[in-house]
């Protein structure tokens, strides 16, 4: 018999290394001779899209097209340490460092521009769409490209902006655990409707919804991509993935028997991006890499309970585990 049930899984997640450990990200922004800006940062692109969203942040501050950002994050020889690409910390921590580095460079660009434009001071000068101009008299202007050439001639290149960001966390008391171990906190809620086949123990997800707090979305489409991916991984955690660990040996250590979801196993996910800017985040943004998968398993488990009235206290909920639980429930 097939039985339907609905379940919620809601979670929170504290960003970063935490507990007072110095969580430092560094970044460098460099004006190149062609007017493009190179961002040097030790933040690894693992597929999550950090290269893109951090380029967006840099382009925003420098007010130049995204294509004019050269993002360098591959080689310890030419990038500062920006900490690990983990703990959902890159958007917040390294994003802040990049923003600071670019703001520093922007200030330096404007300072140099007023000299080139032979103005009294940099007051009233702004940088927009790749141009530095006087707001009260826009004809007083110089493009970033022209400025770079001038600086090159004067041997004043490279022009470098630097930024360093350290997250604020407080070590907890050893006896009471009191303190401020992480910041910021990110919230995630999943809701699913499942259909449980009580004869085979198979579980089908027939509807899935996710609301993800992001602070402020830097790139909404890529956040959606993270949500979809987190959902699939959470689904695997809920009902498929099992190493078959016995006496320290993994029975399931290849893709034939360590089952991750296929395209046919992952239903469409309805996604809500919830924006509530975090004042200390770059443009209000928070990291979401981990939060996006946290609520899936509890939502599935609560939905199973709603469907069949049995609490499954162990993941993954494989068909045999579910059938056993149903049988035990009937016995009691």
């Amino acid at each position: 018999m097939k039985k339907k049930g609905v379940g919620i899984g809601s979670t929170f997640y504290g960003t970063g290394y935490g507990n007072g450990f110095p969580d430092v990200s560094r970044a460098k922004a460099v004006l190149k001779e062609d007017g493009k800006v190179a961002v040097h940062v030790g933040a690894t692109e693992v597929g999550q899209g950090s290269k893109t969203i951090m380029s967006q942040m840099a382009a925003e501050v420098m007010s130049i097209p995204l294509n004019d950002i050269i993002f360098i994050c591959e080689d310890t020889k030419n990038m500062p340490d920006s900490g690990t690409a983990a703990a959902s910390r890159q958007t917040y921590n390294t994003g802040n460092a990049i923003k600071l580095a670019c703001e520093d460079l922007r200030k330096k660009v404007i300072e140099n521009a007023f000299k080139e434009l032979k103005l009294n001071s940099s007051v009233g000068l702004t940088l927009k769409n790749g141009e530095i101009y006087l707001k009260t008299l826009p004809s007083k202007n110089i493009s970033l490209k022209e400025l770079a050439l001038c600086l090159l001639k004067n041997k004043e290149l490279p022009l470098i902006g630097e930024g360093s960001f350290t997250a604020q966390t407080i070590e907890m008391d050893e006896e009471t655990g009191q303190g401020a171990p992480y910041w910021p906190y990110t919230f995630n809620v999943y809701g699913v409707i499942v259909e449980v086949d009580t004869e085979t123990g198979l579980i089908d997800i027939i509807k899935a919804v996710c609301a993800q707090d992001v602070g402020k979305a830097i790139n909404p489409e890529m956040i959606e991509g993270q949500m979809d991916g987190g959902f699939a991984m959470g689904l695997g955690y809920s009902i498929y993935e099992d190493l078959g660990l016995k006496e320290g040996k993994m029975k399931n250590k290849n893709f034939t028997n360590y089952l991750i979801p296929t395209a046919l196993d992952v239903p469409e996910l309805e996604k809500f991006i919830i924006e509530d800017p975090e004042s200390t985040g770059p443009f209000g943004a928070k990291g979401i890499g981990e939060p996006v998968m946290l609520g899936v398993a509890p939502a599935v488990l609560n939905a199973i309970y709603d469907a069949v009235g049995v609490r499954i206290t162990q993941v993954p909920v494989t068909p045999d585990r579910l059938l056993r639980a149903l049988k035990e429930e009937r016995r009691e």
Partner: protein
């Protein structure tokens, strides 16, 4: 050694291969066609998916000598220089790429789907890529991208705004 003749991406090759080589070894190690990835070596993940005689197969599940006289298309054969194939264009446009390791195989499975029908249902698309594992995207945007690619192909053009 075993001599084989095969056509890859429209180009004819005559190769001398070891008996125990697989197609994936020939593509990657002998010909430097590195777009096909090896993710599992047992036909489960689909990262090495290529088209052989118009059908998708896992290049890790074909012995090199079996490809004698066969026509093969790899990811390198899809684009025309820097000119992207509509499927590639759609993958970028929709944001269907994350870590990118499954992407070449996924795109070839997409091609097999669209070669058959440029207006597939989402279910048909999911069926068609069910042999390509992806750990990053949850597949949703890949399905979207293949839908868009179908639309681009139906319109006969490469314009994503179409």
């Amino acid at each position: 050694m075993k001599d084989i003749n095969l056509k890859i991406n429209g180009k004819s090759y005559r190769l001398s291969t070891n008996e125990d080589m697989r197609l994936i070894d020939v593509l990657r190690d002998e010909l430097g066609l590195l777009g096909s990835k090896e993710g599992c070596g047992e036909g489960e993940c689909g990262a090495c998916t290529i088209l052989m005689e118009g059908r998708t197969v896992n290049a890790c599940m074909v012995m090199a000598f079996q490809t004698d006289e066969k026509e093969i298309i790899t990811i390198e054969g899809l684009s025309n220089g820097e000119q992207l194939h509509p499927i590639q264009q759609a993958f970028i446009e929709i944001g269907a790429v994350q870590c990118g390791f499954c992407t070449p195989g996924m795109i070839l499975s997409a091609k097999a789907i669209l070669d058959k029908d440029t207006n597939p249902t989402r279910e048909m698309i999911r069926q068609g890529i069910s042999g390509n594992l992806c750990r990053c995207t949850g597949y949703a945007k890949i399905v979207d991208a293949i839908e868009l690619a179908g639309k681009l192909l139906r319109n006969g053009g490469n314009n994503c705004e179409a």
